[in-house]
Amino acid sequence: MTSERDVVVLGVGLHPFGRFPDRSLDDLARHAALAALDDAGITFREIEAGFVGRVGGTGPPVGVGTRIFSELGQHGIPITNIELACGSSSRALMHAADMIRAGSAETAMVIGVEKMERGMLQVGGAGATSYASVMGLNVMPAAYAMRAQRHMEEYGTKPEHFAQVSVKAHRNAMHNPYAQYRVAITLEEVLGSRMVCDPLTLYQCCPTSDGASAVILASAARGRRHTASPVRLAAWAGGSPVYENGHEGLGEGPTGAVARRAYARASIGPEDIDVTQVHDAFTPGEILTIEELGYVKPGDGGPFVFGGGTEITGKYPVNTDGGLLSRGHPMGATGGAMVTEVVRQLRGQAGARQVEGARAGLVQNAGIGGVNVLVLSA
């Protein structure tokens, strides 16, 4: 069933997530890139295409990708910058995979990187002066909070269901040396932290972070030179909001439809997924997404999470590395970090966070106006 043009993951690497005021964007990116090269056991000269996923806001806006790559080496490869807000590096990975599948490159490196300001995320970045910003409507936690309120109204989901997502994320991150927050918190502490946007309290919002991720993809033919059993990138699909029934899409996109497309391409179903990374920028992200991915019926997400269904030992382990909530969320780096965790899980390298016998994994990464689903298999 495998073809020479199948896409495999040859190497992954991270710069720890957190706050690193003394390190530049280039420092973070280089650290992750070298870690991925070492993990793959190849030199930079063997990379045939480069992509950088980054959102920006502060620092140089133009040509960041080319500058970062030019410090790693200069052998004339095409370098492309990809921006899809918080979904930038997973979208970059999809385009890198397309290149390899098409035969226009045998290898590609995707670097995701970000240095962020402190404070509440705003659509369009801090200091946005749009009408929506002036009118107090331009608030990222509010977008998730409103989806949560609708879910509570339709299905009876409770505030403690959302809060439990954060409790589990923090517990998982304790075993992840790259995570920003490695401290356990209780349900009472999550619910008792300052209310930001009802029903979301402070500890249900991801931090702003600095960090970087790097993923090296290769054709199956090239991958065979370096490893006998690489993790396969089995399928990938992306989407954007859909106008239907007279309404413009309110979320990041049709996650359910995108996931079904990815399942079909990988010839698997949701019941086959052993480990999952979802976009939990805010706690509703996990509950709503596991429903859209088909793991549970619409409305069952809250009780499923509260009952431990997404714990490392649960039926569908989710965000085993702490997720955006606890690992951290340097926007451009997040998609690559999600893929990194799934790769480590499928290789059996996740240590205390290891999901026993994980054979198939899924990444769901969303940015404003776009969603990506990637399926990986051992």
Partner: protein, 146 residues
């Protein structure tokens, strides 16, 4: 949130609201309507999302609707003229479109999904000529409060 009684009232964003032509008239939300298929949109658009017709027209939208979903913003966002805590909502207008808006003149604890609301204006500062800038908002419908 009360609007000043004196001085001219000018929309902060003329693409969002249309002021009444005569005294005593009501301000209206501005949207887009498709002359080909009748679809209505909360935002200004050039092309119809329903039928792809080019040449969509500016129109005014229903001033009443219900809260489709909401939240209370309790941390002050930078650059906002609203002072936290304040409620915001996705309001489903009676003629179809969903529009995001602040909820004013309404107790925060009274906001719920399905609450009937009506359009109002909120004060958004003053322009260089001293006119009062106004922006769109919604409030609980009066009969609802009794």
């Amino acid at each position: 949130m009360a609007v000043a009684e004196t001085g001219r009232r000018v929309p902060l964003n003329p693409d969002m609201i249309e002021m009444p032509a005569s005294a005593g008239g009501l301000p209206r939300l501005v949207g887009s309507c498709c002359p080909a298929c009748g679809a209505r949109f909360a935002a200004r658009r050039a092309i119809c999302l329903q039928c792809a017709h080019r040449g969509i027209e500016r129109c005014t939208l229903s001033p009443t609707g219900t809260v489709w979903t909401f939240t209370v913003v309790r941390q002050q966002p930078p650059g906002s003229i609203l002072q936290a805590p304040y409620a915001i909502a996705q309001v489903q207008l009676d003629d179809g479109p969903i529009v995001a808006a602040p909820l004013v003149d309404t107790a925060i604890d009274a906001v719920r999904v399905g609450l009937p609301v009506e359009m109002t204006l909120c004060d958004a500062g003053r322009d260089a000529d001293g006119n009062t800038l106004v922006a769109h908002a919604f409030r609980a419908r009066r009969e609802e409060e009794q």
